[in-house]
């Protein structure tokens, strides 16, 4: 889907991003290396305002290009994390388009992971996760077409998944709903990061990166392409309205 949204797409290719200003990135990134998120957060406006969480999204107002940074704790999983582990089928009675049930779905995010995962993604009794970045291996989100999967991750307050590869429907649902950024790593990051590591994801045109501040390592991410603006907007409908492809809000 990442590729699909990049090239011949008549709808989604209308927008071109200005190239990033490299020198400003250095300044931009440095605060995360020194300050904790609480002190840094005062400098940046949250992009996604529908829920508060330990993570935040920053955007440089001075820059015309889209550039987003997610900073927070990592939650690390392995290969083939299927939709039953992301949101077990018994919770599919919750209807995501219903706001109360949307919130509740978040509280069950990744509850299907086996007991070998000692740290829970969402603590029992909590509605939100303290982890803003999920790091996975191959084929993240395989299995069912349930949109509840990307929705519950977004509802829990996570901002991005960084995995080696994605199952097709999960990727598409992530973009269509705008709930979470499904980012591709070039290497097997899940073997080099641990749950609880402090990390930053910087989305930039061409060379997005993941920085693990705990280990001090930096990883290249594949470009999100034209799927990025769709997620920025909050999903395919919001994007289409914003881009004037469909009329704004129907009665």
């Amino acid at each position: 889907m990442a590729a699909s949204l990049q090239s011949a797409n008549p709808i989604l290719s209308s927008r071109t991003l200005a190239s990033p200003n490299r020198s400003s990135f250095a300044q931009f990134r440095s605060p995360f290396l020194r300050f904790d998120s609480a002190s840094a957060s005062s400098n940046f406006k949250p992009l996604v305002s529908r829920e508060a969480s330990s993570s935040f999204v920053a955007r440089s107002a001075a820059e015309p290009q889209e550039r987003k940074t997610f900073h927070g704790l990592c939650y690390v999983v392995g290969d083939n994390i299927d939709t039953d582990q992301i949101i077990p089928a018994e919770f599919l009675t919750l209807v995501p388009s219903n706001p109360d049930e949307y919130e509740k779905l978040g509280s069950y995010a990744l509850v299907g992971l086996p007991a070998a995962y000692k740290e829970r993604f969402v603590q029992p009794g909590e509605m939100k996760t303290k982890y803003s970045i999920i790091i996975g291996g191959e084929n993240f989100g395989c299995g069912s077409s349930r949109e509840h999967a990307p929705v519950c991750l977004g509802a829990a307050g996570a901002k991005a998944v960084v995995a080696q590869s994605y199952a097709r429907i999960f990727f598409r649902n992530s973009v269509a709903t705008g709930e979470i950024y499904p980012l591709d790593s070039e290497v097997r990051v899940c073997d080099e990061c641990k749950t609880g590591d402090v990390a930053t994801v910087e989305l930039r045109e061409g060379d997005s990166i993941l920085i693990n501040h705990t280990t001090g390592k930096e990883y290249k991410l594949k470009p999100i392409g034209d799927a990025g603006p769709v997620i920025d907007a909050g999903g395919i409908f919001a994007y289409a309205r914003k881009a004037g492809m469909i009329p704004s809000a129907a009665a």
Binding site: S4, S7, N9, T93, L113, P114, E138, G143, S145, F237
Partner: protein, 507 residues
């Protein structure tokens, strides 16, 4: 063990586009054409020879197309598409069910307005099937929500259930959507079918493009009848050779997934052809296509033939047009299997590609057997299980749960005589063997479901199942272990209490 299977029996070849001239694979192509010519109906001949269709749909064919590319070209009103093209596709049928329908309609209302009407009330099929026979209030509410939407939108095909106490009191109620779609004539060659369920790919067995989508995409389709799709490249699987009597389509697809892995076909089409495929019944073809999503596939597809047309024409009067891959179409990969040399296989916990020969697992003790779902709960699946149980003439050693996919399958289980069983029905044979009484048709415990779901895996037990997924927690308990298997292997395992090769009971 897995590698020994590869090297000893089927040979797998990958070749490039240049190697794939029509002459490389004359056999399967010619056979399907030949079969079509024998039929008196000209529609299929037309689509093979392609002289009569309007230029807008076929154009002058510069490059050969696969059948998936042809279906998508037609549905996007183009003469040609190539893999990677992003195209707007007109949808022929949109299916949704009780789990994703409320969300899809919720998005439709939110985005198109409270008073909006769906794009075509006769092209939407709503099939409650997931969480039906449960006291879970939210699950019951979701069926009520779908009923309201269907009434308001005047949806023609809504297979409702109101009396949960006795499914037979609901003549409209069908059961598992993918099986019901076929049985009710909604699967037709050449069409585009989308569904809010990953196993929508089952319908590719009918030579159509069928794939699963999420609620948001479905909400868009509800309003517009269109979807933006990327044309997938096609992987071809050529299965030749006589199918041994102890093998079933489930063995074939587990063999293939074991070969290419759970992500081996991600974003791609899996096209199945060859003499073995031509010999398969529609229900077996459905099993094959059903599990392409377990390899990550976007869709699976089988060229329509006389078997297809016979099934479809008995169930629908809607005109359709079969399409076939061109001889010079491009395939990204070719796999060939000699089916006559394959053995019964299972997928061990916790991944559908964790393939092993059934006989290699003979020391695995099991706690229960489950026969059901869109994959393994069709009439022929129960007939196969009953045939083996009758041939063995023994009692099952572990609890054996039977969940017919649809009301029609349930009736067949009680009415159809099992060949070679002296007129006995499946139900009689199951009862004599000590199986649980066949349950009310639904998705049942295949995906766990609400806590009170029949046959749900509530303990960390080992289950041999004819279903499609064995990820942790899939059937309920996170520490449960699921061995995916054919109905033959499931029935044989029920008799021994171990994972068992069905050849122990079938000659």
């Amino acid at each position: 063990m897995a590698s020994s299977v590869i090297s000893s029996s089927p040979f797998v070849c990958k070749s490039t586009k240049k190697d794939l001239g029509f002459s490389s694979f004359p056999k399967s192509s010619q056979i399907s054409i030949h079969r079509c010519q024998k039929k008196s109906i000209s529609r299929q001949i037309v689509s093979v020879m392609a002289p009569l269709r309007s230029p807008s749909t076929t154009g002058s064919v510069k490059t050969g197309m696969t059948m998936t590319e042809k279906i998508l070209a037609k549905a996007s009103e183009r003469s040609q598409v190539v893999p990677g093209d992003n195209i707007w596709v007109n949808v022929d049928v949109l299916m949704t069910h009780d789990v994703c329908g409320p969300g899809a309609f919720g998005i439709f209302k939110k985005e198109f307005g409270e008073k909006a009407k769906v794009w075509d009330s006769e092209k939407i099929v709503v099939i409650p099937d997931h969480y039906i026979f449960t006291a879970d209030k939210r699950a019951n509410r979701n069926v009520d929500i779908m009923r309201e939407h269907c009434r308001e939108q005047n949806i023609k095909y809504f297979y409702d259930i109101t009396d949960l106490g006795d499914f037979r009191a609901n003549p409209d109620y069908k059961g598992v959507c993918h099986v019901a779609l076929a049985q009710e004539g909604h699967c037709r060659p050449g069409e585009v079918l989308l569904g809010t369920d990953s196993h929508t790919c089952t319908a590719g067995a009918f030579g159509q493009f069928a794939t699963g989508i999420g609620n948001t995409d479905a909400g868009f389709v509800l309003g517009t009848g269109k979807i933006l799709l990327k044309v997938p490249p096609t992987m071809r699987f050529i299965l030749d050779g006589e199918m041994p009597s102890y093998l079933q389509a489930k063995d074939l697809i587990l063999q293939i997934i074991g070969e290419i892995s759970v992500a081996g076909a991600t974003y791609k089409t899996m096209e199945f052809s060859g003499t073995t495929i031509e010999s398969l019944t529609m229900e077996e073809r459905m099993t094959l296509c059903n599990m392409v999503v377990e390899a990550g596939g976007k869709n699976g597809v089988i060229p329509p033939d006389a078997t297809t047309l016979n099934y479809v024409e008995n169930r629908t009067s809607v005109p359709f047009e079969s399409v076939y891959s061109d001889g010079n179409a491009s395939f990204v990969a070719d796999y060939r299997f000699d089916v006559s040399k394959l053995e019964p296989v299972v997928a061990k916990p916790h991944s559908p590609d964790n393939r092993a020969l059934a006989r290699e697992c003979k020391d695995v003790k099991i706690d229960r057997v489950y026969i059901g779902s869109c994959t393994g709960g069709k009439t022929e699946d129960f007939m196969a299980a009953a045939k083996l149980l009758h041939a063995a003439g023994k009692q099952v050693k572990v609890p054996t749960f039977l969940v017919p996919a649809t009301q029609k399958v349930w009736m067949d289980v009680y009415a159809l005589p099992v060949p070679g069983a002296g007129g006995k029905t499946c139900a009689q044979i199951f009862e004599e063997a000590g199986c649980d009484t066949p349950a009310s048709p639904s998705c049942g415990a295949c995906l766990g479901g609400p806590a009170d779901t029949y046959a749900r895996l509530n303990e960390p037990q080992v289950c041999v199942s004819t279903t499609n997924r064995n990820f942790p927690g899939r059937m309920g308990h996170k520490e449960g272990q699921i061995y995916l298997a054919s109905p033959y292997t499931a029935a044989a395992s029920a008799l021994t209490g171990r994972v068992t090769d069905p050849r122990e009971f079938l000659q």
